[in-house]
Amino acid sequence: MSQSFDEITTQLKRRHRKSARLKWLSMASLGVALLFLIVFFADMLNKGLPAFQQAMVQVEVNYNEDAETMGRAALEPDIAPLVSRSFERLIPGMIRDNPDLLGTTETRWVLTNSDVDQYLKGHRNELSEDERAAIDERVENEQVEMKFNTTFFTHGDSKMAERAGIMAAAVGTIMTMLVTLAVAFPIGVMTAIYLEEFAPDNRFTQAIEININNLAAIPSILFGLLGLAVFINFFGVPRSSPMVGGLTLALMTLPVIIISTRAALRSVPDSIRQGAFAVGCSRWQVVRDHVLPLALPGIMTGSIIGLAQAMGETAPLIIVGMVAFIPDVSASFTQAATVLPAQVFTWAGEPERAFVEKTAGGILVLLAVLIFMNATAVLLRKKFERRW
């Protein structure tokens, strides 16, 4: 009556081939996605790692009288065009601060300008043949060297690529994130507690829930418009300040924190609540003493992830003016500041080749911080994960 195994197996050949094709195709898709990731990181490392190195040159600084007004006069004429102008500008001030220097000569390592730096890294530059020869000669005499680029980590933005660093942006990021955390964390956790533990199941509660989900999917740039119209134009928060940036990002992070906190609260089994109610705790006592401590790791994880998201956000900050040129570290929540991704954006717009490297370097720092935060969140979750 029915076919034998061999007959069926023969018929199946074509169908198995089709099935295998789907498998390979789907595997290839995953492969392509991961390949993108690898190419991306390779590209960023390739472009960004050189930013952590900076060419330095050993020069004779001759603190003569001319140098009191024009720093360049302190340097030998053949090397002067290759030294960063930022150093030349410092010389008159040094002499003013310390008049004893006048008339002395000192040998020290100073920054070269970005063209020399790019030349030594093998990139496009605008050095003349003679200048290149001068550099080559000094490299052989070990008077020009690539050194670790401390400037990059200790200075703010600068129009001179060799002098530009991420310090101001890093401080700005920290301050902005402090504002974000201070606003979004309490409000988010309180909202989640209300919705999960207190709210009656009525239309109002449902409206809040739908609203939170929508908020999570609204394009970030619209939060920028909100920040501009409400915080800056209406409440008069200073433009470009960590305050306005932090508030804007806080509203954006709010849904992330609410959603993850609710998930964490929900994962605490009802038996714990019932047990606590049974010994006469009020609802708030149950939440405070029994549910919250158990949900805390989940809440922390969600908040870290939300914060990492906010830290990488740029679009709303552009709208509220946080892409300013900030050469100095600001220490106030109401003064103009910039953040790391905005700094990356600013540098990406600079035409000089040396800034490409700075941009990628800034990106590497940003990515390192984000990966560190996300890894912390994952570890936290792993460590405290509990199966009920």
Partner: protein, 281 residues
């Protein structure tokens, strides 16, 4: 193993050959459908089946009974290699059908499942129309080519499953719109539409109400004229009502395999007797 257990527990020992039921009902035909020899199965480190020997006969209903976790469902799933879907499963021993070991590397499990259908504990119709639920697999298998053939096959399968009268006016409604008992009969119709030799039923009535259960029991009785049926059941009355042969499993061992009447009236082993009389399980 089986016989050794019997030897320990019962005297005098009758000459029971491995895999054969202790007593045979001589009225039913005895052509072999599936032959299982020394079947062992491990989930990781845990051995779930120990040296199972059993002969399943064509066009009979064989019921597998035993307490929860005794390995009866696991055993059932060895017959169409559904255990392949679970990780870390190791199988050793012979499951022979149509002269072929179903576990041999050359055996295509898809071809095997084509000949060994299965009905699950919970009805699981596809999220498609009633018609598509039944017609879909035969079309895949090239059993029907013309549209008319397809209509005819669907009608025949639904009739055989006793569902035709109830659904003939709403063939294009989703299968999930039916009641639980109807859904289960739809799943049976779906299984018989591909014309298998063996139908495995894994507690097919445990999620159903008593009336649907009775309908499906009647159906099994009818279907055994065309198919070999192996069913797992928790319900001993059900086994007594529908099965020709009954196998009693305990802790992964086949304790007793017997003609159903004998099993429930005069079981051969002490353990089976204790279980049937309700002393444990």
């Amino acid at each position: 193993m089986n016989s050794q257990v019997a030897e320990r527990e019962m005297t005098p020992m009758t000459s029971q050959r491995a895999g054969q039921p202790v007593t045979r009902n001589e009225q039913v035909n005895h052509d072999l459908s599936v032959r299982v020899r020394d079947l062992n199965l491990w989930y990781g480190e845990n051995q779930a089946l120990h040296d199972v020997n059993i002969d399943v006969f064509q066009k009979t209903v064989t019921a597998l009974i035993g307490p929860s976790g005794c390995g009866k469902s696991t055993f059932l799933r060895c017959l169409n290699r559904m255990n392949d879907l679970i990780r870390d499963v190791r199988i050793d021993g012979l499951v022979e059908m149509d002269g072929r070991d179903v576990n041999e590397p050359k055996m295509d499990e898809v071809a095997l499942r084509r000949r060994v259908g299965m009905v699950f504990q919970k009805p699981n119709p596809f999220p498609k129309s009633i018609f598509e639920n039944v017609a879909y697999a035969p079309r895949m298998h090239d059993l029907v080519s013309r549209r008319a053939d397809q209509d005819e096959l669907v009608e025949r399968s639904l009739r055989d499953a006793g569902l035709w009268e109830e659904v003939k006016d709403k063939l294009h409604q989703p299968g999930t719109s039916l009641s639980g008992g109807q859904q289960q009969r739809l799943c049976i119709a779906r299984a018989i539409a591909v014309q298998p030799d063996v139908i495995l039923m894994d507690e097919p009535t445990s999620a159903l109400d008593p009336i649907s259960t009775a309908t499906i029991e009647d159906l099994m009785d009818k279907l055994k004229q065309q198919f070999t049926i192996v069913t797992v059941t928790h319900n001993m009355q059900q086994a007594a009502r529908v099965a020709d042969y009954t196998a009693f499993f305990h802790l992964g061992e086949l304790i007793e395999y017997n003609d159903t009447k004998t099993m429930f009236s005069n079981p051969y082993t002490k353990k089976a007797e204790d279980y049937i009389t309700g002393r444990y399980g």
